[in-house]
Each structure stands twice: as structure tokens, then as C-alpha cells.
Amino acid sequence: MTIATPTAADTAIPKAPNPYLEFCRQQPLGAISFFIIVVMMFAGIFSPWVAPYDPLAIDFAGILAAPSWEHWCGTDAFGRDICSRLIYGSRTALVIGFTSSFVGSTVGAILGIASAYFGGKIDDWIQRFVDILLAFPLIVLALVVVAAVRKFVVGGVDVNLIIAIAVPIIPRVARVVRAAALSVRVMPYVDAARAAGYSHSRIIFRHMAPNVVAPYLIMLTAFIAQAILAEASLSFLGLGVTEPTAAWGLMLSGNAADFYREAPWMILFPGAMISLAVFAFNLFGDSLRDYLDPRFKV
């Protein structure tokens, strides 16, 4: 237990470390998963340039081709290039995953903060409503909503699907954010804002919301993974994205179920992509939580 005598170098004014580098240092797994997410986003955004083939181009000459240098992941029963479909599929997965998680988490967070802020009867009613929604597993509730809402596509995106996945996310986020907001609610700065006679919306959005951003962000990333999985499941069940759009869940269903013995690559690669995406978002959410939570700080 000895220490060196202070030198000129370490008595210099310390600089605050770069938060991004600090995140990579403390959470190497989080950094790797973030890298995977970035690659996936790149592939999704620039799919027309990245994908080697048109994902919809049918080629009956080369159906059920095994993975080769020509078709990295092989082809499906219509001779479509699986690799290109996976790349375009990341676009579908990310768009639906992001938007539904964002919509669900945001609505949930506002509900949670309002519940904590107003308290009393309002809190009771919101929480009982949340209890009811929480009684259903995420995918079951999504199924109910998707069955109830009529198909509605804007700019190639299934809005009904987004709503269906967002609804079950709302109560889950509302519960967690409410807990965080309850501790913010009793902070003297909120009392100070009330004593100043500010409006409810000002206190909720200006004084409370920024202070529950950490749990909100963590829930947001974690539910992107859940939403991608839900989208894949719904598509697999034929309730989500429909043919011929490229979607990972859809690629597992349909004639993939008939041919997977002869052409296992038809299900192997989409399955791996779903796992990889869910894994990356979950891990990133976890790392973000550990990084933002001061209790985990050394």
C-alpha cells in the first residue's frame, strides 16, 4: 500500500473524461453491442447500396441454392437472395422496433410521470388501468390489438403493427417511470416550482421529465429488442408484415416451414439475425443502465 510522491504531471488540472470513451472502457460488451446496432442501422438505411441483389427479384433458375460466393446466405423457394432480404429486413425490423418502442415508451413515461405527480385518485386510476394491461403478456396484448385495428399502411410502414406493439409497452414503462418520478416528486426543486405557481404541464415536462430520462432511455432501448421480437413473431404468425416485403419473422414462416429440411439456411440466417438484434439491444440497454446508474460506478 504505497503511493508515489506527487509529480507535476498528476497535479495538473484534471479533465473530465470523454463520456463515450468512458462508456467503452467501463462497458466493453455494451460497446460491442452498440457496434452491432450501428452496423444494422447502416445496413437498414443504405440497403439499396449495401444489398447485392434486389430482395424481391425472383429467380426460378436458382431456387433453394445453398450458401455460395454468389449468394452468401443462399436463396429461398423463389430464388430470392436471402442475404439481400436480411439486409432489407433490418430496415423493417428497425423502423417498426424503433417507432413502436419510442411511441410506447414515451406515452408510458408521460403517463407514469403524471401518475406520480398528481397522486391520489388519478394515480389510483392510472395504476389500475396499468395493472389490467400488465396482466397480459406482451405478445398476447399485441395480438389482440393487431386483430382489433384494421390494416393501415403509410409510406410502406404498417402503422397498425406499430400501434399493436406500442400498446403493451405503455404499461410496462409507465410502472417503472412512475417509480422514478415518485422520488423526483418529493424533491425540493419540485416543491419550489409548485411554490412558484408554475402550471402542471410546465412542472411535468420541464422539472420532472428531464430527471427521469435515464430510466426512460434504458426502457426505450430494452423494448426495441422486445419490439423487434414481437414484430418477427407477428409476421411469423401472418399478422404483421405481409409478403413480399422482406421481414425476418416472415422469412421464417411460409414456405420456409416446408423446405427447412432441404434448405436449413432459409431459417438459420433470419433466426440468427433476430437473435443477434435482440441480444444487441438488450445488452446495450443493460450496459446503459449500469453506466448511467451511479451506484454501479467505481
Binding site: I3, P14, A16, P188, A196, R206, H207, N211, V213
Partner: protein, 673 residues
């Protein structure tokens, strides 16, 4: 003069050249540098310093309880002939709890809530002394009676939540004493307790250390506590010891400018009230980048060229040691702090008529009842009446749980009163419509206790202060708002550049100033100060009190000053209300209440407050008050104070005494006076 009589040949604890440093993401913090001191057997040594001075870290270093990953300890610590820093973990664990034990600040969190008190006391006995369960239990009973817990046999099987705060601290002391340690380290042992309880605990610890010949290291920021206890005092500032010596010497003849300043900046009950509090200007330096030379030089009024060099710890004339180049000049009386305030400043600004009158204010909090039980209520505030004139400061004193904070929150309408009236500027706030309330809100503002949680961490200082200007359209445009924010910052003694900063980049005192500026932005005529200075260090506390007084003079503000520190309340208030258990006990103007208090509770409160003067404290008779605050679930009948009152009779248990004007302007709620 020669060195004072030292403890016999080999001291119990010898700390030599102790250095502790932490690696943080913001750089290396040198928390303790070159600390050397000795503690003799049975001696009581106090380590005094403001937050961040390194006093608690030194104690943890002695116990080897610092986080291993980030903390580095260097130096020599010899305890009873063994070098603690060279011991293996196993050997150190043997010493901890058996030879050296530690008492922490928070009795509420230092006991495990899921284990019985008995188990927690007997644990060290069975582990360290190898006692059998029966032996340990017998010893535990003995220990509990030693620390003054009645009916120890049955209380052993109870859980921590069944004990009050004071009782828990007694249990902590009992655990600390369990194995007959040679040294007890107490880190702020009474800071979390009320004055009357604090007095009891101090009495107990002093008594026990004498009786059992235990050496005691007391770490505290409260100079009054030190005066009562200590044989020797060590003063720390910014990681270094600046002065050490016998308690009498340090208090009466300080030989370091920091000690001199610190002693002057405490408001004191045993001295006539000065017009203005003396302060030490400036801030405690940042330990990642401390100033070269003397650490105190940037704040020292006696700074000379040589202070740019590190001063050695020199022997002063009166046996103390001082880390000041000019200690000989201080001893010669050539250097003394100039009085900063002049007497004529406090012109009476109080105007006639009541700005705020509170009449029969009552607040009951419902308690969730168990199934099949009647719904219970906690009577937090019961029939409280007082008034405040424009430009006046009304002090509201009482111990924790007496309802003083609730009164403040009721006036701010953060809580809805159960009954009574609050009239402000002719408007009854209890019945006011939202629109009327909105208009009044601006006139009543608040300053909170904790400067760390009262500012929104996600807003800059400029946004925090500028928000009311924007919401209430108090500034014509954004340029005018920026100018007004700068003006407000200036008014509270901060540089306008701070508007760009976030609260976590400011010190405690600076944050409290921001809180004041935020209140002032509304242009209020009345401010509720809820323990506004009690979370601040002594040298900063004086600065804030002076600021509040200056603002009052300049802007004609009225204050409701809620506090538990009697000396601070005496300094700032013109009239004082004393509360106990939800009720007003006594109301009088400041000088009357501190000189001729009528109510027995006020007398007890005044008697319990420690005074930073060892001669006065050591000559003092044992305290009057016994017992603890009654439970809110089972309030006493009749006078709420009858359970602890030295004068109580049967009559007091039967009638609730009304608040009666005993002398002109002097009200008391007691049938005995």
C-alpha cells in the same frame, strides 16, 4: 510554556504522516495529507473540520475501511504497538470491533432492520470474545443498562424500528462498547439527533469514556460538541491539520487564522448578539487541484508573501501546534480579525400591520389504518396562531417532528390545511381561488434546507433563476431577462458568469445563493426559509445569514425563519415562536425569550444547546431533560410536554394549556408559569 502533559510513555494510537488519496474520474483527490497525531489511553480527541476537510477519511483509514480499488493509504498507524497498515486482513478484522470500534452518524441506517437488537449486540461478543450465547446475552443486558436503556431484558428481542433515534444511537454505542475496546471512533455521533437528545448522548459518552478508560476520537463539525467533550482538539482544513492543542488552548488562544475565523463565525448563545456575523470569505479549495503553499492563504486576511510556501507544523507558544508562518505574531496579539460589521446597520424596518396572520392552523395527516381498525391521524400541527409584520423576521424553532416544517408548507400551500386560516395581505389563502392564489404565489417564496436537492440538476443556473421571469413575463425580452438574471446573481454575491453552470458544478454555499436568487426573481415580499442554513458549513452559514439580512434591509422582505439551531435563530429573528409536538409553546421577542424564557420546554431547549467554550461547557451542571419525544400515534393527554417536563403535575396531564399572554407581547402555553 512547555508542551502539555502527554499521555504516559507509549500512546495508544500513533498516526504518522498519513496520506490518503482517491482516484476518481475527475483526477486524483488527496483527501488527507501528512496527518500526524497521537491519542493516549483514555483520552478524548476531537477532529474538527468542515465538509471535505478529510476528517472522516482519516478515521476510515485508521479502521482500514477505505475502498480498496480507488483509495490509497500511505504513512504509519501504530495502535497499541502494532502497525495497522502492515497487518493482514484477517488480523485487522480481529482488531476491528474488539480493540477499535466505530460509531457512525446515522443511527437510522447503521443498524440492520431485520435483526433483533440483541443479536446485533451479541454478534461481536460471540465472534471476538468467543462467548457462549448465554454469556453474550448477559453481557448485552449489562451493556444496555450501561447506556441507559430501561427494561433491557425485554428490549433485546425487539427490532431497530421499535427504538427511537436517540435510543438507536444508544444501542450503537452499546455495540461499540461490547468488547471493551481500547479506542472508540465516533463519526459525527450526534449530528442526526435533536438538541435535547444530543445533550443526553454527549453526557453518556463522556461519562463512559471516563468510567471505562476508553480513548475516544470524535469527528465533528460542531464546535459546541467539541467543547463539551474533548481533551485535545485537532483542526483540519483542506486535507491538512492546521492546528492541534489542548481544547482550552485551541478555543481561547487559537494560533491559526482558520481556527480564529471559525470560532468567530459561529453564532453563540453565550455572547451578546452581534449586529453582523463574522465570516470567512471565499470557498474551501478543490482537492484535485489545491492551491500551492498554505491551503488557507486564498481566504486568509493576514496573507503575506511567505504564505505562497508550504508552512511547517510549528510549536506555538501555548503548547499548541499551528501550521501558520505567522503563529508567533498571532500569539503576540499583532494579528486579529477585524470586525466586519458596524453596529448601526440594523435599522428597524418593521412596519405596522400584519403581512401574514396564521389563525388556529391545524393539519392532520391520515395514517393508513389496518383492516378493522379506526382510521388514525397524526396531528402534525394543532391550533397554531402567529402573525408576521412587513419587514420582520419571525423565528420558528423546535425539534424534529414538532411540525415547524409543516407550518411552512401550509403557508406555501404545498399542503392543504385541515383547519384554520392563513391570511396574507388581506387574502385568505385557505379559501383562495386558483387565480387569486396565482397572484399571491409570486409574493410568497421559499428557500429550502438542502442546497443539493432544491435546484433542478438538469437546468443551468441562468434557466433556474430566469424561469419565473419568463413565466410571469417579468422581463420585456430575452435580453432584459439575461440582464435581470445577472443583476440577481450579483445581488446574492455571485458572478454573472455562473449563469452558464449547472448546479452540480457549484459548492453548497453557492447553490444556496442560487436558491435565494430564484426566490428573489419573483419580487416577493415574504420568504419562508426552511432550515435555510443548517446544511451549510459554519464559515458558509455566516455568509448566507448576512446575505439574508442585507436583502431584508434593502428590499423590505419579511422572513419566516424555520430552524432547530437556537443560536442561529437568535441571531436572525426579531420575534421567536417555539413549537413542540405540533403546538406553540411560547412566543416572545428575541431578547425576552433568550433571557427570560417562561415555558419549561424553552428553558430545557436553551439549556441543552452546546456552547463552543470548553470552560463554560465543562463547568456546566448535568442537563435537565429526560426522556424522548412522545409517539405521534399515542400523543400524551393534556399538555404535550408533560411526559418530559421537570415541573409536570397531575393537572398537566388533564388540561391542555392555552397560549396566554403572560406579559405584554410574551405568550406561553403553560399553567405553571
Amino acid at each position: 510554556m512547555s508542551r502539555p502533559v502527554q499521555a504516559p510513555a507509549a500512546p495508544l494510537l500513533e498516526v504518522e504522516d498519513l496520506h490518503v488519496q482517491f482516484e476518481t474520474s475527475r483526477g486524483i483527490v488527496r483527501a488527507v495529507e501528512g496527518l500526524s497525531f497521537e491519542v493516549g489511553r483514555g483520552e478524548v480527541v476531537a477532529i474538527v473540520g468542515e465538509s471535505g476537510s478529510g476528517k472522516s477519511v482519516s478515521a476510515l483509514a485508521i479502521m482500514r475501511l477505505l475502498p480498496r480499488l480507488t483509495g490509497r493509504t500511505r504513512g504509519r498507524i501504530t495502535f497499541d504497538g502494532r502497525s495497522l497498515l502492515d497487518l493482514g486482513d484477517e488480523e485487522m478484522r480481529e482488531i476491528r470491533g474488539r480493540d477499535i470500534s466505530m460509531i457512525f452518524q446515522e443511527p437510522m441506517t447503521s443498524l440492520n432492520p431485520l435483526l433483533t437488537i440483541g443479536l446485533q449486540i451479541t454478534e461481536p461478543l460471540t465472534i471476538h470474545l468467543g462467548m457462549t450465547a448465554e454469556q453474550a446475552r448477559a453481557r448485552a443486558v449489562e451493556l444496555l443498562s450501561l447506556v441507559g436503556i430501561p427494561d433491557p431484558e425485554s428490549r433485546l428481542d425487539q427490532y431497530p424500528h421499535q427504538f427511537s433515534g436517540g435510543m438507536r444511537q444508544r444501542v450503537m454505542i452499546a455495540i461499540g462498547l461490547a468488547c471493551n475496546p481500547k479506542l472508540v471512533i465516533a463519526d459525527e455521533p450526534t449530528t442526526a439527533l435533536d438538541v435535547t437528545i444530543q445533550a443526553q448522548i454527549l453526557e453518556l459518552m463522556k461519562d463512559l469514556s471516563r468510567k471505562l478508560n476508553i480513548a475516544l476520537i470524535v469527528i465533528t463539525h460542531n464546535l459546541g460538541v467539541v467543547a463539551r467533550y474533548a481533551d485535545r482538539v485537532i483542526v483540519m482544513y483542506a486535507a491538512k491539520m492546521v492546528e492541534q492543542g489542548r481544547a482550552e488552548a485551541v478555543f481561547h488562544e487559537p494560533r491559526h487564522p482558520y481556527t480564529m475565523g471559525l470560532l468567530r463565525s459561529v453564532p453563540r448563545l453565550d455572547r451578546p448578539r452581534g449586529m453582523r456575523l463574522e465570516t470567512i470569505e471565499g470557498l474551501v479549495p478543490n482537492l484535485t487541484n489545491p492551491p500551492p503553499g498554505c491551503r488557507f492563504a486564498p481566504r486568509c486576511p493576514f496573507r503575506v508573501d511567505i504564505c505562497g510556501q508550504e508552512p511547517p507544523l510549528a510549536n506555538a507558544d501555548n503548547g499548541s501546534q499551528s501550521r501558520c508562518h505567522r503563529h508567533a505574531e498571532i500569539a503576540g496579539g499583532k494579528i486579529a480579525w477585524a470586525a466586519s460589521g458596524t453596529g448601526s446597520q440594523q435599522a428597524q424596518m418593521v412596519r405596522e400591520g400584519a403581512l401574514l396572520s396564521v389563525r388556529h392552523l391545524t393539519k392532520h395527516f391520515p395514517v393508513r389504518a389496518k383492516l378493522g381498525h379506526a382510521k388514525a391521524v397524526v396531528r402534525a400541527v394543532e391550533d397554531v396562531s402567529f402573525s408576521i409584520h412587513p419587514g420582520e423576521t419571525l423565528g420558528l424553532v423546535g425539534e424534529s417532528g414538532c411540525g415547524k416544517t409543516t407550518v411552512g408548507r401550509l403557508i406555501l400551500r404545498l399542503e392543504q390545511p385541515t383547519g384554520g386560516e392563513i391570511e396574507f395581505d388581506g387574502i385568505n389563502l385557505v379559501k383562495a381561488s386558483p387565480a387569486e392564489m396565482q397572484a399571491v404565489r409570486r409574493k410568497i417564496q421559499v428557500i429550502f434546507q438542502d442546497p443539493y436537492s432544491s435546484l433542478n440538476p438538469r437546468m443551468t443556473v441562468g434557466q433556474i433563476i430566469g424561469e419565473p421571469l419568463h413565466v410571469y413575463k417579468l422581463a420585456a425580452d430575452s435580453a432584459a431577462a439575461t440582464a435581470r438574471v445577472a443583476e440577481l446573481l450579483n445581488q446574492v454575491g455571485l458572478r454573472p458568469e455562473l449563469a452558464e453552470r449547472y448546479p452540480h458544478q457549484l459548492s453548497g454555499g453557492q447553490r444556496q445563493r442560487v436558491g435565494i436568487a430564484r426566490a428573489l426573481a419573483m419580487e416577493p415580499s415574504f420568504i419562508v426559509c426552511d432550515e435555510a442554513v443548517s446544511a451549510l458549513d459554519v464559515s458558509i452559514q455566516g455568509q448566507i445569514i448576512n446575505l439574508l439580512e442585507d436583502l431584508q434591509r434593502r428590499l423590505g422582505l419579511a422572513y419566516l425563519f424555520i430552524a432547530h439551531d437556537l443560536a442561529v435563530v437568535r441571531h436572525i429573528s426579531m420575534r421567536v415562536v417555539v413549537m413542540y409536538f405540533g403546538r406553540v409553546m411560547e412566543v416572545a421577542d428575541r431578547d425576552t425569550i433568550y433571557r427570560n424564557a417562561l415555558h419549561p420546554y424553552t428553558k430545557v431547549l436553551l439549556d441543552a444547546a452546546p456552547v463552543p467554550d470548553p470552560t463554560v461547557e465543562k463547568a456546566r451542571a448535568p442537563r435537565l431533560i429526560q426522556g424522548e419525544l412522545p409517539s405521534h400515534m399515542a400523543p400524551p393527554t393534556g399538555c404535550v410536554f408533560n411526559t418530559r417536563c421537570p415541573m409536570a403535575t397531575q393537572e398537566c396531564r388533564e388540561t391542555i394549556p392555552p397560549l396566554v399572554e403572560k406579559r405584554p407581547g410574551h405568550w406561553a402555553a403553560c399553567i405553571k408559569v
